[in-house]
Symmetry: C2
Subunit: 323 residues, 2 copies
DNA sequence: ACATATGCCGTAAACGTTTACATTCACTGC
DNA sequence: GCAGTGAATGTAAACGTTTACGGCATATGT
């Protein structure tokens, strides 16, 4: 049924070694022979058996990608970026969704390592030690998390927070609430520390509205907390939380942006579709994916671990207004 | 570095065949031996080489998934469902995003077939003939497309359209516009034909607003077309298009649902987060994925091709109101 | 003309499994 | 006591590739 090297070799009248060399364009093989082999392979519809290839070379044609949640547009975009870069290198992506669960993640990693030796971990929830140990034996690149001695690609959280705060203070907001994300999220703590070191005008104060799950209920709770605290602007951990906040505010008769301004983070595709469209920090999600995959593919990940920080840019839309 | 069957066999004092049998729990092996082998394998940290396994068994540990766009929440959810089911069977999903391009799709299929022999095609854009030919030689399940003699899983488009129309006519709408999706989409044409056979009250008429790309611009154009046509309700091909329409209507000062009602299709996660929250046909996206993966895994896909139609249910929210 | 280099190609080993077949051994029933 | 049975294990082939090695030409240098 399936055509192998042997059959191509027979038809072309050469040995399988020559066929292999001709197709891989490696070693020395006469131009005429190469052409003939190529032609035969094509007409026979030869497709190399990747399992056999991987068995002997030890290096597979796929990279593993572990993400917390495919339904989260952020990770969907990151995954897309990884695919672009991987496809350019003739690789596939094996994606595993962990449902944001550390145990699932551990299991997924173990499973994937029997199939691939190159791994991209997006927002891993497991411990630093585990990650470092993993990185010692395999090619690993992290997304949205920094761990010493391991390659990573992240958005510039500090800059994003600063741009948001500058925007809001410039608009005259003096009571600004921050609705945080899951405590297990590295991005969340990174953004919180950036908040802590921002140089506020003396008249302005930042109010911590707490940490919320990324869900409808989380958005409702965050919005209610913001209203209770009397803030005039809410910065959300990410766009999905901001969406929930937007919905709840409208539900409670509070106008955005006239009464309260809302700023998101990430700039997921729907952010610009909303009414009001969401002011948010645009994170180059796809490019994060491409960069991470690039590190893995060109082997830089192992040889010289490096943390890459990509620029972010505030997109001012209609969910923010002067106070 | 990596531990193989041989090393486990040596340490356990048996042959590799026995180790293989003990671990796979197949054939007959003494209980005491099995235990010892298992223990040794565990302490040595044995991880089977999947490439070798696949090479000899011919069946891999992964299924291929081809989707038009990961960033589309519909497919992200479907992919998640597939993962659930696949994980339960110890399988991985190799996902390829084709950017909704038939050529990319053809290439992706060819590529994937050298790695997997089981394939799920979501909304394939390639021809029926190609699909049927593919299904002859491999296990294939289609999502959101029906092709004779090939297994498929789809949402009940007819029912969804009927529920939407019934809802709108019951609310007193007499000029209802339909904003269609890409012409290449099977779902789109399926929904259109359902529209054509609906039994309208004589006072009501349906207005075709045309076909639109799923983008910001598409939503704008569709909304403008609806306004120009003077409709009081717009049914959108899917939620993303509905989102764009919602945004444009608000932008033009038209209130939803007071002036115009809007109905979506799919019920993607953000639909309920919006203000106004979107009335839409809930398609069991995750379950579609699970079902498709199930067909592939239990081998039903090949032996008895069957089209599975899953129930959909209109979710009435606040984007629709009486006229 | 002979030694040497070089280009082309075939032989064969290796990758780590699974599994058909062979072997051993103890036990059963007569 | 002996053929027959069946359970437990070992032997070895096979899966389809890549690649080190060696052989055989032919070209090159003296």
């Amino acid at each position: 049924m399936t055509v192998t090297l042997r059959e191509v070799a027979e038809v072309a009248g050469v040995s399988i070694a020559t066929v292999s060399r001709a197709l891989a364009d490696v070693g020395s093989v006469a131009a005429e022979t190469r052409q003939r082999v190529r032609r035969v392979a094509k007409t026979l519809g030869y497709q190399p058996n990747q399992a056999a290839r991987q068995l002997v070379t030890g290096r597979g044609q796929a990279i593993g990608l572990i993400i917390p949640d495919l339904q989260n547009p952020f990770y969907a975009s990151v995954a897309k970026g990884i695919q672009y870069r991987a496809r350019a290198a003739g690789l596939h992506a094996i994606i595993v969704d962990t449902d944001d669960n550390a145990d699932n993640e551990r299991f997924a990693i173990a499973q994937l390592l029997s199939v691939v030796d190159r791994l991209i971990l997006a927002s891993p929830r497991i411990g630093e030690g585990e990650i470092q140990q993993l990185a010692e034996h395999h090619s690993v690149v992290l997304i949205n998390r920094e761990v010493p001695a391991v390659s990573s690609v992240v958005g510039d959280n500090r800059s994003g927070i600063e741009q948001s705060l500058s925007h809001l203070t410039a608009l005259g907001h003096q009571a600004i609430g921050y609705a945080g994300g899951p405590k297990t999220s590295w991005s969340n703590t990174d953004r919180r520390t950036a908040l802590g070191t921002f140089d506020f005008p003396t008249s302005t104060h930042l109010i911590d509205l707490g940490s919320y799950r990324i869900s409808k209920a989380g958005g409702v709770a965050a919005a209610d907390a913001g209203i209770a605290a009397g803030v005039t602007a809410i910065m959300a951990f990410n766009d999905q939380l901001a969406l929930g906040i937007l919905g709840r505010l409208t539900e409670r008769g509070i106008r955005v942006p006239q009464d309260v301004s809302v700023v998101g983070f990430d700039d997921i595709p729907v952010a610009r579709l909303l009414a009001p469209s969401l002011t948010t920090v645009a994170v180059p999600m796809t490019r994060i994916g491409e960069t991470a995959a690039g590190l893995l593919i060109n082997g830089k990940a192992l040889s010289a671990p490096k943390s890459t920080v990509l620029d972010v840019e505030l997109q001012v839309r209609s969910s923010t207004a002067p106070q």
